[in-house]
């Protein structure tokens, strides 16, 4: 039997960049992953969607890299690459044949150090159009596409950094200027606000030397400013919020959000297990009691790993054409109330599923590197990519009951109901 056995080599450059090298010579591949501690939560009023638009601008070239060269060079090297923006962070990643490590480090360091010089109005206008089409394609022109926007407004109080979506609004995207790009870059894209992971077929000393070579001369930035708005949201919510929308959707659907402790809170593990008992797998409560019985077409639940003060656990259940959304929601709430009394065997199944999924998630170097960056940025411990399992194993039946009792079986919910409109039903 193989064992799960990773080694990590850590180093912090003088400019504050935290570096983790995780060698694995099992195949000639290397993953380079950068987490910047900036996401939609850092956006100021009137600039929603900017962190994501900025992520697009990061591919438009830097002082020594012409527009589109980033993709072209990595693809030419036989690598894959992308980036994503979320509430708390933005990540950039390349996976390449390992003899191309320098290429990824050169590209990432050039845009970390010298991106603004290459920005033009034309590039901004072009990517603004691309992002607006991303919004149309993924949200506006898709059934249920507005659920996140609606639910976030219901779960989070006015002024909370999680109250708006990552994609933002068309008006705010229109308002973004080149000056915003430069400000954002100088404020957040500083080495002291980032974690760099190099995982794969590398020699740790050699890799650290190369990282130092490419990133060492980038200047440290000022400390990142406090989050705008107010992250103080009471957990749980003081009263439920319910909204029903009639929309061009094929089937009734219920989306519920629960305010729960942050991912970094010790209480989070119990909610992960509770979420698993509720909605992971076909032996879970929602599948067994709602899907298998023909009440719902599908169902899921999982907590988001958010870190700014609180997080959210999401439950989604889709009905059939004849379902009444209100009754569907009541059926879901009934399942939630049932979570205060679950069996030991359900917890064991939830754990077994989580364990297998976690180990499998570490198979690919790209995903492994991303988890290392996350664990380092949020917990200052790359080892947590496997230790997370220990946290889950330590969850007792009483912990699950307690978590369900406090956060899921109560009035702590925002419930969004989709009712197909007359014309489409």
């Amino acid at each position: 039997m193989s064992r799960i056995d990773f080694t990590f080599h850590r180093h912090t450059l003088e400019n504050g960049l935290r570096v983790v090298v995780a060698p694995d010579a099992s195949r000639p591949v290397v993953a380079v992953n950068l987490w910047y501690g900036v996401g939609s939560r850092n956006e100021r009023r009137g600039r929603t969607g900017f962190a994501h638009l900025f992520e697009h601008m990061m591919f438009q070239g830097s002082a020594h890299v012409p527009k589109n060269q980033h993709f072209e060079l990595v693809e030419r090297a036989g690598g894959s690459l992308n980036a994503s923006t979320w509430f708390d962070r933005t990540n950039y990643f390349e996976t390449l044949p390992s003899h191309h490590l320098d290429l990824a480090l050169w590209l990432e360091s050039d845009r970390m150090g010298w991106m603004v010089q290459a920005m033009t109005q034309e590039k901004l206008d072009n990517q603004r159009d691309v992002v607006k089409n991303e919004k149309r394609e993924r949200y506006d022109n898709r059934p249920y596409g507005d659920w996140q926007e609606r639910l976030q407004r219901m779960v989070w109080p006015e002024d909370h950094p999680y109250r708006h979506t990552v994609i933002g609004s068309m008006e705010d995207l229109d308002a973004a200027t080149l000056e915003d790009v430069a400000d954002f870059f100088n404020t957040f894209y500083v080495p002291n606000n980032a974690v760099l992971t190099v995982a794969g077929d590398v020699d740790p000393d050699d890799a650290l030397r190369r990282v130092e070579h490419w990133f060492g001369e980038i200047h440290r930035g000022a400390a990142v400013p406090e989050l705008p708005g107010d992250t103080a949201a009471s957990i749980p919510m003081s009263a439920p919020v319910v909204d029903e929308v009639e929309a061009d959707v094929p089937l009734p659907r219920v989306m519920m959000g629960f305010r729960i402790p942050a991912y970094t809170d010790p209480g989070f593990a119990a909610l992960e297990v509770a979420g698993s008992v509720l909605g992971a797998g076909r032996a879970s409560r929602l599948y067994r009691n709602l899907v298998r019985t023909g009440v719902a077409r599908d169902a899921f639940s999982y907590p988001f790993p958010l870190v700014s003060g609180a997080s959210i656990l999401l439950v989604g259940v889709t009905g059939f054409p004849e379902s009444d959304p209100g009754e569907l929601a009541e059926a879901v709430r009934h399942q939630l109330r049932g979570l205060v009394q679950v069996e030991e065997s359900e917890v064991a199944r939830g754990l077994a599923l989580e364990e297998a999924r976690l180990v499998r998630a570490l198979e690919g170097l790209g995903e492994r590197a991303d988890r290392i960056s996350m664990s380092t940025m949020l917990f200052d411990r790359p080892e947590r990519i496997t230790e997370e399992l220990e946290d889950l194993r330590a969850v007792s039946l009483a912990d699950v009951h307690d978590a369900a009792d406090r956060f899921l079986a109560t009035e702590n919910h925002a419930t969004l109901l989709y009712r197909p409109n007359e014309a489409t039903a």
Binding site: R27, P28, E72, D102, A283, R292, R297, P321, E363
Partner: protein, 452 residues
């Protein structure tokens, strides 16, 4: 400190060796191929059971039954109810999934390696002894019908389904939705599923692939124990011919008033997976629309900002799956996007890819190949493909070298043979009132307007 020289891309180090993982092959007496790929990075295992029971051999009246039968397998076995089956799998942390496509039904299993014995036993029980209980079949059928309904309201899915219908001649399986229709599925009950499984779930022509932290001898013995008594062959099947509906380029608009975007599909019948000189065609399609830096994406996204992204691809199947350009564009620029895309295709076929483009695509495809073999699931999927498409055992061992050997001339010939801009069925799902006048003005072919 001394600054790094940033002015040019750094030189690559020496290329490191890569070989496709060793596949230990064997066959049970009953015809089931058993391929084992030992990979010992992590204590995990993935198993694929490929059954030659795809949608592509079914008549229109039975369309959807392979998918429905596959989905209904979780309903239980002769020994266990659906709930008990799910509990047994999840207690050992096993993820089991049934995927049914045009070519085959694939049951995939992934678990920690020390749980493979039990998990594979459950997989075998599910496929060899399905019970298809009445209530579970009714429930699964209800979900299936809801999915069909849901597709008709999702612009992207609607566009893809409509495009297939416009690309292929009536009666061609690839021209209909994979899930079948509300009519074909409505009457499928327990008896039809039992009949389907009885006749199609047979080992001949199929295979078991296990990749991961396992011993080949042990897996073979395990497979013999579970599948040793499973016999027979599914009905003889020929591959779909993939005849085109029309050889004339034309535009079909499906009206969704008020759409903020138009979903575009431009295609015609492509090539089967076992097409001669497959690698030349893969290079040719990569240059046109297979990468971020492709001609189509650089034009429609990076130059014009019409879209979040555009891809062109051939959906390789046993028969000629569709070649298609897939994108979604801002309503206001729909006609311009169509014009640009057709223009790119015409230029591409006329002049062929440049030497530089072919070299880039070759490097990309040769380099990305090992990167997509990182997980036991990815490796098992590749090995399973050999069974699905009846490809030679050494297909993957020689893949990188054949990609590297593609010349500009070979890629140009492949492009001219398989990409035919004059025969495109152009499907647009969007606001007809807003897009039709300009589409008519393009003079690319007749424009028809339909309601969904």
């Amino acid at each position: 400190m001394s600054g790094a020289n940033r002015t040019t891309p750094p030189k690559a180090g020496p290329l490191r060796d890569f070989a496709f993982p060793t596949v230990v092959r064997s066959r049970l007496d009953t015809g089931l191929a058993v391929d084992v790929v030992p990979i010992h990075h992590l204590p995990v295992a993935t198993a694929f059971l490929v059954i030659p029971a795809g949608e592509d051999t079914l008549s229109e009246e039975r369309a959807g039954i392979a998918v429905l039968a596959g989905d209904a397998l979780e309903g239980g076995t002769r020994r266990r109810s659906g709930v008990e089956l799910a509990e047994a799998l999840e207690t050992i942390g096993a993820d089991l999934d049934v995927g049914t496509g045009w070519n085959a039904t694939t049951v995939s299993l992934s678990c920690l390696a020390d749980r493979l014995d039990e998990a594979l036993g459950l997989l075998g029980e599910m496929v060899l002894e399905p019970a298809f209980p009445e209530a579970e079949v009714a429930r699964t059928r209800g979900q299936h019908l809801a999915r069909i309904q849901q597709r008709s309201m999702d612009p992207g899915a609607l566009a893809s389904d409509r495009a297939a219908r416009e690309i292929y001649a009536p009666g061609e399986p690839y021209g209909r939705p994979l899930l079948g229709s509300l009519e074909s599925v409505a009457d499928m009950g327990r008896d039809s599923l039992i009949g389907f499984a009885e006749s199609y779930y047979r080992p001949e022509g199929g295979g078991l692939v296990v990749a991961g932290d396992v011993d080949p001898d042990e897996v073979r013995a395990l497979a013999a124990g579970i599948f040793g008594g499973w016999e027979g062959a599914p009905p003889v099947r020929s591959s779909p011919k993939g005849v085109a509906r029309s050889l004339e380029r034309r535009i079909v608009v499906v009206d969704r008033p008020g759409s903020v975007q138009s979903e575009l599909r431009m295609g015609h019948p492509g090539a089967p997976r076992n097409v001669p000189r497959y690698e030349s065609l893969v290079v040719a399609t990569a240059v046109l629309g297979g990468t971020f830096s492709s001609r189509l994406n650089l034009n429609l996204r990076e130059k014009h900002g019409f879209t979040y992204g555009v891809r062109s691809r051939i959906a390789y199947r046993r028969g000629p799956g569709p070649f298609s350009v897939v994108t979604a564009v801002d309503t206001a620029v729909t006609a311009r996007a169509v014009q640009e895309a057709v223009g790119e295709m015409e230029r591409y076929v006329r002049d062929g890819p440049t030497k530089e483009e072919v070299a880039s695509a070759r490097d990309y495809l040769a380099g990305i190949f090992p990167l997509r073999l990182e997980t036991t699931g990815q490796v098992a999927a590749r090995v399973a493909e050999l069974r699905v498409y009846d490809l030679p055992d050494d297909t993957w061992a020689g893949h990188r070298e054949r990609i590297r050997a593609v010349t500009r001339r070979a890629a140009t010939e492949a492009a001219r043979e398989h990409i035919r801009p004059g025969e495109l069925a152009i499907t647009v799902v969007g606001d007809a009132a807003a897009v039709v006048p300009e589409l008519e003005g393009l003079d690319l072919g007749p424009v028809e307007v339909h309601t969904p």
